[in-house]
């Protein structure tokens, strides 16, 4: 069964754009629970919970998009996209390992988070952004 009904690029663009939009929200939430921002309407606890829930959603979306990329498109289509996409999944996997099991490396989480965000924006811009422009 063809889940995307012959529209793999369009579905991929929508899913990647949702992940990127949520990633921008992730930055705001991280700034709140690291106390760089202190809005009166949102404390660190709820911001951290939503950051984790939204991050899990982004991870699922990125895995689905990556599977679609590998299933429908050739690696030679865009080398830059392939490299940034691969690095994105690697850094995201490291971040998940640090959060779940490798707690002593927790001080690197802000750097890993910003790296995930930068790679996600670069990967999105190289295909979805260009497709929408």
């Amino acid at each position: 069964m063809d889940l995307v009904q012959g529209n793999p690029t369009e579905v991929k663009v929508v899913l990647a754009s949702v992940a990127t939009a949520l990633a921008i929200y992730q930055l705001v939430l991280a700034a709140i629970f690291y106390r760089k921002l202190r809005p009166s309407f949102l404390d660190g606890g709820p911001a951290a919970f939503t950051h984790r829930a939204s991050g899990d959603t982004i991870a699922v979306l990125l895995i689905v998009v990556a599977i679609m990329c590998l299933s429908y498109f050739e690696l030679e289509d865009s080398a830059f996209h392939a490299v940034t996409g691969f690095l994105l999944l690697v850094v995201l996997a490291v971040k998940v390992v640090v959060i779940r099991w490798w707690h002593s490396a927790g001080r690197f989480l802000p750097v890993l988070g910003i790296s995930v965000f930068g790679l996600l924006v670069a990967t999105w811009a190289s295909t979805a952004g260009a497709f929408l422009a």
Partner: protein
């Protein structure tokens, strides 16, 4: 606390919905299904025109 939690999750849901609407609107009616049905309608119209022309000639 729980109100803040629900609010922040609601903002995430709104971001998802707005992004889907904005990107879909930007993509336009370019889906393969839409293009197929458009092509089919055009073929039907051409067939009908041809039939009418043939009827007139007879």
């Amino acid at each position: 606390m729980s109100r803040q939690l629900i609010g922040s999750l609601l903002v995430a849901a709104i971001i998802v919905a707005v992004t889907i609407i904005a990107v879909t609107a930007q993509l336009g009616p370019t889906s393969a299904a839409e293009l197929d049905s458009r092509e089919e309608r055009q073929d039907q119209r051409l067939d009908q025109q041809e039939e009418r022309r043939e009827d007139r000639q007879d």
